[in-house]
Every structure is written in C-alpha cells, then in structure tokens.
Amino acid sequence: MAVGEFEPKIAGFLCNWCSYAGADLAGTSRMSYPPNIRIIRVPCSGRVDPLFVVKTFQQGADGVLVAGCHLGDCHYNEGNFYSRRRFALLAPFLDYLGIQKERFRLEWVSASEGRKFSDVVTSFTNDLKKLGPRNVLSSGGRG
C-alpha cells in the first residue's frame, strides 16, 4: 500500500442476528477485508435511526454501511422492510447535504454469509477510495 494513500473511514451498523453474526463468521473463517470499518452492533437494521447515519457522517465518516438480514428473514419479521424504505428516502437527503449517495450502503448479509460480508466491506472500501475524501460537513454542534 502506497504511503499516504487515502484511507476512508467507514462505520457499519450491523444487526445482531444476521449481519453481525455474518461478520463474526468472516472472522471465524479468516476471510480478511480492509481494516477501515468500525462496527456498531444494533438489534435490527430497523433500529437504525437515519439520524445516526447523518451523525456518523458529521463525525467524519467517509462511508456508512447499514446491514441487516435478507428481506423475509428478519429476526423480527419485518424490521428490515422498514429500513429498506427508510434508507431509500434518506439517499436524496444525503445528496442535499452534499454527501454523495454512494457513500451510504444498505446491504443484506445473513449469518451464514461471512464471504459476502468480507466482499461488501472490500468493495465499499475500494469504491470510497476512488471517491476520495468527503468534503467536511460543517459541524452543527454535537447533539
């Protein structure tokens, strides 16, 4: 890796039942991926308030990943359907804030998809590297 290459900061909100377990499986199976992501565990992708995503960008993230169970497989039956709708609506708002919508990703990763988790993080990291650093959001206070 070239010295001084841009290293994007990524935050991942992973649902406890599928994607967090999928990330654990990637570990158990030693499927390496770029170390750019920091992981926050949530019970369900439907727990993720869009506010958290915006706050994360404000905090300096270059990319935010929300991952949940595949549609129809939600541990709580329908949580991920809410997140699908919610984040479809968030994208244009991100644009409005000057954050390219490619910097946000919603993915479905099941507990058995360690490989998929590793692939998602790898491709997201590479895409963000191509996009380059994000224009700094003026921080409107902390709260």
Binding site: A26, R38, I39, R41, V42, R47, K55, T56, G79, Y82
Partner: protein
C-alpha cells in the same frame, strides 16, 4: 460517577498475535471514565474471571468493558462475572477485537491495533451510559399445545402428558394417525404399521392429560413463551361426538360415494365417513361438499342452482342414538398455552406435473402411497395388488425413484430421504404378495443411511430379485395393455426399454398444505420449500427463533419414522424442561416510554411487529404509548420512528448509540 475498568483478552495468540495489547491498554487508560486497564491470557477462563473480579473490587469499579471475542460468544459469561463481583450485569460492554479485528486483519498489525482501540473506545463510550436493568419474573401456563396428530405430534403429546402436564393435541383431519396410518408395513423391520401405531392412538384418547381436538385448525397465535393465546377452530362434523358410538350404520347406508382421500383416490368412501376403520376418534364427519342433505339445504337457501337435490337424511333416520346434528356450527376454542410443538408433517409430491410419466393420465402409473394402500388389507383392494385399469395382477412392475426429489427443473433439488427405503420395501412386499412379480427399480443413487437400512436394501436385490438400474426414466407410455418405460442404464451407457404392467412412482416429500400460512401465523421462518426453519440445524434441531415454540418431524424437512419419533420426544423434553420452572425470567432489555416526552402520535404502535405497545391515558388526560414488557422482543423499531424520542430501547438507547457514534474515531 462512572468508574470504568477495561480488560483486554489475549485469547492466547488469537488476539495478542495481531493486536498490540500494551498499545490498547495504554490508549484505554486515557479514555474518559476509565480508572484501570488490565489484560488476561484468557479472560473467559477461571483465572481470568477471578482476576477481573479482583480488579473490580480493588478499584471499586462500577462499569466494565471487555475487549475479547464476539459478544455473541461470551457476553453471558461475563455478565455472570459481574454478578459475582456484586455489580448489575448490564453495566458491561464487550468490544469485539477477535472475530472482527485480529482474525480478519492479521496482515496489517498496526491498523488492526488502531481498530481494536477504536472498538474499545466505542464500548467505553457506551458503557458510561449503561443503566442498571433488572429481569422480571412472569407467570407461566403449564399447558402445551401440539399441532399435528401424526406420529411426531402423538409422540410429543404422550411424552409431555406422561411428564404430568396437560396437553391439547390439534389435528386437521377427522382422525389422528397421519401418514403412518396409511402405510402397510414399515422399513427396515417390516413391522405392521397399524400394529405399532394404533395402540398409541388409543393411548392418546385415553390419557387423562390429553385433550384431543380433531377436525380442528389453529387460527391465531399471539403472546410469548409461557403465555401464548391461541384460537383453535373446531370445525362442525355435523355429528354429536358425545352421542355417537361409532357403530358405522350411517357410513354403511349413505348412498353418496366420493373418491377416498385416505386411499389416495383409489376406491370410494361415503359422504358421511371415517377415513379408515381404526380411526381415532371413531366418530364420522359429514362431507359438506358432497352430502345430499347439505346440498339440499344449500339449494333451498338459494346458495346453489340446478336440479333440486334429494332430501336424503338416511343417516339420521338410521342412527340408533340420534347423533346427527345438522345445526352444529364451527366452534372457536380460545386457550392459553405455555409452549407449542409444531408437528404438521408433510405431503407427497404430485406427479401429475410430470408429462414424461404420463402426467397423471395413465391409470397404471401409481404413486408409492397408492401402492401402500393396496398392500393394506383394509385398503381399497382388500390387500391385493391390482392394476387400476383392469384389476389384473401385475407381473412386471417398474419402480421409479426420485420423482419430485433431486430434480432442479421442478424446483425440488433436495433428497426426500425416505423414498430409497420405501421403494426397496415395496419391491419386497410386491414379491411377497406374488412370487411371480419381477421388479425393476430406476434410481440415481441408493441412499440407505440408517441402522439396518443398507442390509435391507441389499436383501431387496439379493433375496427378492429386484433389478436395480442406475438411471432416470425419460418416458412412460401405453402400448396396448402394457406400459413401455423408456430409460437409461447409465452404468451400461445404454437406453433401456421395459414393458411393464404397472409403474410405481416414488414421490418425494413436500411441505404440507398450509405450512407457510401456519408459519406466518406463528411468526416462524420457513425455507423456500416451505419447510419450517429450526433455530440451529445441528445444535437446536427442535427449537425455533421464537422461545416456547418447538418444531418436530417432517414439517422441518424429510424424515423417516424413527427420526420423527425421536424429534417428537426431543420437543417434549424441551417443553418439560420449560415447565419445570415455577416462573419465567424476562429479558429486561426491552423498550420503554418516557411519558413526559410522548406526544401520543402512536407511530410506535403501528410499527411494532408484536403488538407490544398499548396506550394509556394519563391523569392529565393525555394519551401516551405504553410498552407491554412481556410482549416486547426488543427489535428497536419503535425508538427509530419516535419523533420526540420518547420511546427508547434499554440496552440500545439513543444515548448509547449516539455515544458510540461520537466515539467512532479519535
């Protein structure tokens, strides 16, 4: 004032080999609220746990972060350490620095260490906002519901009842017994199926702890482990079960004949009937589609047109105990159960979609289950094997395995598991019924995993002379009075043509009718073939993702009788273990409402998948949301939609998650 202790686990070299532990400890000590940072070779081990306790006590810590393996692995272990150290177990956070750090970033130790430090910092930020939580005790209804009266459900019901708990067994058909009641003999011992099944059926009706509801279906399930509210529809038989003695005069004299489902369409039954002579309970039901008097009533009420049907009522006139009850209506039974066992079984693949096997149009191409009924002495042919087309005894029989199994084109790529064995059994029984019979079996592989199974299948070939041909059948067509079976012998690499008198299709196992709907009702998950999903395919084969609901038998996937019996027993053991407690402990990590902030928009009520949010009217007249803590499953949908941020999820509060976000990077 938070006094936080950070413990970093080496996990031998699993973590320490990649992540620089001293660097993590150094960084942790500077994090806000952290009083002490220490490390352990193995935090989860006995010495590790004692060390953590000692450090907690020495430093008067009140919150703890452990940097180790995934919280999915040892969070519970460390909570117990907290309790032993005299702290509330929920003042604990686990930073995942093994599965999500050291194991995936071993090629870049520097960056892995940076990430580990970030994960610890996130956990420290969260733990500072943790609240003390206290589990509640909730009462438990020690009554079990078993859905499905086949061999699996019967076994589960008997085992739970014998453990001393009341059980309600619900069966959709008018008799219990399931598919096993249709079989003549069972592999690999050739036990007479009825001889081993009917005593169990009788035991069910006579058991003081078992309430049997046949011709009934579960319509609604709500509630949670220990306290399920269930609605069962008891369908109208039009026969008063209390009066009926099962004498049989009604079904003997009923003039209306209909194709018999129990006999797989071979032979006929009456419009008032019991599916088979050994039915339990031995109470007939009136077939509402075909009974002449019901048709007459519909006609009089203007529900049907055409010729006026006969006002038959012969059964009523002949019944010696006046058991016919024409005004009987469907009845809804509402009851509370502590646990539910789902054992709804399977159905067989319908081969009429297979044009190459005649598409259901060739009368002498029958299914394995139809042959089974012919073998049976109380079956449609009185125990004789006869060609449906002309009643002749077949001398050459071709058996085709994997019909609707291992067939990707027909969307059934899985192995149905039982067909190889029942096909072998049927070649033996065919030969025993008529020594002149020659059997040919087309197979893909012969799968005989099970005690004494392989020996049995070999006997079919070696002692009973069944000729096994490895290959698939491409076409079956009629030629004169015979059937021509075209296939391939893939071991010889040649096409094969066999002129047969009868063909038996070993139809595969499918999820039962209505399995997906039932799963929906009970909020269980199912796979693409509608088989129910167990909590873990190896370690939790009868549990589901929903506490208190168990699955057993062929509703989970193809299984033979011994496996079904074992699973029925296993589910019963789980129910008994649950019922051995006096009270249930509820998880305190649930949603709660801040009444002062709630504006009563009730969006939370709309999104809650568990109907766990009610409303309450405060003394000042405002309506606010109220969480029913025993129904809440802690998904967190409600706090995410709450506009005034009045609803929160304990353990994953907005404050905790935002603290994590703020702590993401230095």
């Amino acid at each position: 004032m938070a006094r936080i202790g950070v413990f970093v686990c080496h996990c031998g070299t699993n973590i320490a080999g990649v992540v620089s532990i001293p660097a993590v400890l150094e960084a942790a000590k500077k994090m806000p609220g952290v009083v002490v940072a220490a490390d352990d070779k193995y935090s989860c081990s006995d010495p590790g746990q004692s060390h953590i306790r000692a450090v907690i006590e020495q430093n008067k810590l009140n919150r703890v972060v452990i940097g180790s393996c995934s919280p999915r692995m040892h969070e519970f272990t460390f909570r117990k350490v907290m309790v032993k150290a005299g702290l509330n177990p929920y003042f604990l956070e686990v930073a995942n620095i093994r599965e999500q750090v050291s194991w995936v970033h071993s090629n870049d130790k520097e960056k892995a260490t940076a990430k580990a430090i970030d994960h610890v910092r996130i956990a420290v930020a969260k733990v500072a906002r943790d609240e003390a939580l206290f589990p509640k005790k909730v009462p438990l209804t020690k009554r079990a519901l078993v859905i499905g009266g086949g061999i699996t459900g019967m076994q589960a019901a008997l085992d739970i009842a014998n453990a001393g708990h009341p059980v309600t067994l619900v069966e959709r058909e008018s008799s219990i017994g399931g598919h096993m009641a249709q079989l003549d003999k069972t592999f690999p011992t050739l036990d007479c199926s009825a001889c081993i099944l009917t005593p169990k059926m009788v035991e069910i009706v006579q058991h003081p702890n078992i309430t049997l509801l046949t011709y009934s279906e579960v319509r609604q399930v709500s509630g949670f482990v220990g306290n399920f509210d269930v609605e069962i529809v008891k369908k109208a038989r039009k026969v008063d079960a209390k009066k009926c003695t099962g004498c049989g005069i009604c079904w003997l004299k009923c003039p209306e004949k209909v194709s018999a489902e129990f006999n797989e369409g071979l032979g006929e039954r009456k419009a008032i009937y019991v599916p088979f002579p050994q039915a339990v309970p031995l109470v007939p039901k009136v077939d509402l589609e075909n009974c002449l008097y019901i048709k007459y009533q519909n006609y009089v009420e203007g529900k049907s047109e055409g010729k006026r049907p006969m006002q038959c009522r012969i059964c009523e006139k002949l019944c010696p105990v006046q058991a016919l009850a024409w005004d009987q209506q469907d009845e809804i039974v509402k009851e509370k159960f502590g646990a539910i066992v789902v054992a709804t079984g399977y159905k067989t693949f319908d081969p009429s979609v297979c044009g190459e096997y005649g598409g259901g149009k060739l009368p002498d191409v029958i299914s394995g289950l139809q042959l089974e009924r012919m073998f049976n002495s109380s079956g449609p042919t009185g125990g004789e094997v006869l060609r449906p087309s002309d009643g002749a005894h077949p001398k050459t029989v071709v058996l085709v395995s994997c019909v609707g199994s291992r067939d990707e084109q027909r969307g059934r790529p899985y192995c149905s598991k039982i067909c190889c064995m029942y096909t072998a059994k049927q070649t033996i029984l065919l030969k025993e019924h008529d020594p002149e019979v020659q059997c040919y079996v087309f197979y893909i592989d012969i799968r005989t995993g099970g005690k004494d199974y392989e020996e049995f299948a070999r006997r079919a070939q070696e002692e009973y002379g069944a000729l096994y041909l490895r290959g698939r059948v491409s076409r079956i067509y009629e030629d004169g009075k015979q059937l021509v079976v075209l296939g391939e012998d893939s071991l010889m690499g040649r096409p094969v043509e066999i002129r047969a008198d009868m063909v038996v299709l070993a139809t595969g196992v499918e999820a039962n009718e209505g399995a997906a709907e039932l799963a929906q009702t009970m909020k269980l998950s199912h796979d693409v073939y509608d088989f129910l999903t167990e909590a873990h395919p190896k370690l939790k084969p009868v549990e589901t993702q929903t506490d208190g609901i168990l699955v057993a038998g062929a509703c989970v996937g193809p299984k033979d009788i011994p496996e079904c019996v074992a699973q029925g027993g296993a589910a019963a053991a789980k129910v008994s273990a649950l019922f051995s407690q006096e009270m249930l402990t509820s998880d305190p990590m649930v949603a709660s409402v801040d009444n002062a902030r709630c504006i009563g928009c009730l969006l939370c009520v709309q999104v809650c998948p568990y109907k766990a949010i009610d409303t309450q009217v405060l003394r000042n007249g405002r309506t606010v949301a109220l969480v029913n803590e025993s129904l809440c499953r802690a998904c967190g949908l409600c706090p995410a939609v709450c506009r005034p941020k009045a609803v929160n999820l304990r353990g994953f509060t907005n404050q905790q998650l935002l603290a994590e976000v703020n702590a993401l990077w230095q």
